[in-house]
């Protein structure tokens, strides 16, 4: 029984996207694809413990889902004739060779820029990730009914506006792939630093899901440097998760983390990806530079801040945003001291951002400017949503 449960869980993770994607291509209907995939898995839950696991579970699920879809369409065509025609998905006519895969089509459709970001995230988790609507609703602290409406509305727009089920036009491809990575990174970040006080500080379910989906995209687009970079960034970040929150639920900063708790396997894999990108000789994008920074953080006994600063200088050329400048200033503080860093930080227009005030507070504390440091901690505490981060800031405030 337990064995079958394990198989079901594993097969669900491995095959869900494939089954949905296959049905979506065949029947050109995302709604039908999702529902019939769910029914096929429900049937498996009933039947496999009794009949045994079929020799090819993926094929069994696809066939079962297809049969159900055909039955459904027959019933409906008897009832309402042309209706199905109205919600058909359209495909893009020219497949792009190596990256033409049903699952990749599904990812691009779910992450289409004509959908709101929150819809892209929800659709990707549902259609590609196989999370249930209640699971997604819980992950983003939205009522189940509201999340169901969001997903239904997104599917409705895909059908009505004819968002294609397919890989993008060649000229759109780089921007669209960047858009997919943004969705995956957002899912990961929400897991890594949950923004709400109402959830666990670290949501390993979301980080794991984001990594799994990014692995899938990498498998489908292996030559893209930014896909590799994002995967490496996630792995090197995830590797530090066991050391990131103390037993008392407080955030532990990088320099104070117990490195023996880090996941060596993930670090090894992340470093290998970063080396692979360096060896390619191609100019790195944003995710690759961020991955390289995290590779430096996870290399040896302590961080080589000179390398980190050089990488932030490189990142700044790609993304000259205030948040990047803030993170660069943290590296400057390690090399040139808090006074120099504070001057850089104070010039940034980030008053609504908790990390800005937390960084200022730390620099002011190191400079012995106690009153100003306390005021900055207060502001950071006010803006921070993550419970572990709040706990850390409160203690630091008390000690200052």
């Amino acid at each position: 029984m337990t064995d079958v449960d394990d198989v079901l869980t594993r097969v669900h993770r491995q095959e869900w996207a494939r089954v949905v994607a296959n049905l979506a291509r065949r029947f050109r209907d995302l709604d039908l694809a999702e529902e019939m995939a769910a029914e096929a898995f429900a049937t498996a839950v009933e039947r496999w413990p009794v009949d045994g696991v079929p020799p090819n579970p993926g094929a069994w699920l696809t066939t079962t889902a297809q049969r159900r879809a055909i039955d459904r369409l027959r019933r409906e065509s008897r009832r309402e004739g042309k209706h199905r025609e109205a919600v058909m998905l359209v495909g893009t006519p020219e497949p792009l060779g190596a990256i033409d895969d049903d699952r990749l089509r599904l990812v691009f459709t779910c992450c289409h820029p004509a959908l709101a970001m929150e819809s892209r995230v929800a659709l990707t988790l549902r259609m590609v990730g196989g999370l249930t609507v209640p699971e997604i609703a819980h992950a983003f602290l939205v009522q189940e009914a509201a999340m169901a409406r969001r997903i239904t509305r997104a599917k409705g727009k895909i059908a009505a506006a004819r968002i294609p089920y397919g890989v993008p036009l060649r000229e759109d491809l780089p921007a669209r792939l960047t858009g997919v990575l943004a969705v995956l990174f957002l899912i990961f970040n929400e897991g890594y630093l949950a923004t709400s006080p109402g959830t666990q500080p670290v949501r390993s379910d979301l980080t794991a899901e984001a990594i799994r989906l990014t692995r899938l995209v990498r498998e489908l687009v292996p030559a893209d440097g930014e896909v590799a970079g994002l995967l490496a960034l996630m792995l090197l970040t995830e590797a530090r998760r066991p050391a990131r929150v103390s037993p008392t639920g407080e955030l532990v900063l990088l320099g104070e983390q117990d490195r023996t708790l880090w996941d060596r396997e993930l670090i090894g894999e992340g470093h290998a990806l970063v080396r692979e990108r360096l060896a390619s000789g191609q100019a790195p994008g944003r995710y690759q530079v961020l991955a390289a920074i995290n590779a430096v953080h996870t290399h040896g006994r302590s961080t080589d801040w000179r390398q980190v600063l050089a990488l932030y200088d490189q990142l700044l050329r790609l993304d000259p945003s205030p948040v990047v400048r803030l993170n660069r200033a943290i590296a400057v503080a390690e090399l040139d001291g808090p006074q120099v860093a504070l001057a850089l930080v104070d010039a940034l227009p980030l008053d609504g951002y908790h990390a800005f005030h937390a960084t200022r507070a730390d620099l002011l504390r190191r400079l012995g400017r106690t009153d100003e440091a306390r005021a900055a901690y207060d502001r950071a505490i006010e803006l921070a949503g993550n419970t572990a981060e709040t706990a850390y800031l409160v203690r630091r405030r008390q000690e200052t």
């Binding site: 893009t92 289409h112 009505a160 506006a161 004819r162 968002i163 294609p164």
Partner: protein
């Protein structure tokens, strides 16, 4: 093929200037050449609008647009495209040509 309504959004009643008109002509020629053209036209300002409610015994007329808003539809295209990605590319080029924001909406499938 799907038809899309491409509405030109404007917050002023100023008509397109010569450079904009010339760019729109080039864009329209391209739409025709590539088989995307269905129809297009510019509209008089919202002051020229009349709202008609003919559901009663006598039609009821109201002077002005049905909604007072900062922005109004200054003109439109109806284009034909195989799917949204193509329509979005066309709309982006059209927006550049007329130098205004556009709204793209699919017609209901027949």
């Amino acid at each position: 093929m799907v038809q899309y309504l491409v509405s030109v959004l404007s917050d002023s009643t100023e008509l397109a200037d010569d450079a904009e008109m010339a760019a729109i002509d080039v864009f329209n020629d391209q739409l025709r050449a590539d088989g995307h053209w269905v129809f297009a036209g510019g509209l008089a300002g919202p002051d020229a609008a009349t709202v008609i409610d003919g559901r009663g015994a006598e039609p009821l007329l109201t002077d002005g647009p049905y909604l007072e808003s900062k922005e109004h539809v200054a003109g439109f295209w109806i284009i034909e495209a195989p799917h949204l990605d193509v329509a979005l590319r066309l709309a982006a080029a059209g927006s550049k040509a007329c130098n205004r924001r556009l709204e793209l909406r699919p017609f209901l499938a027949g």
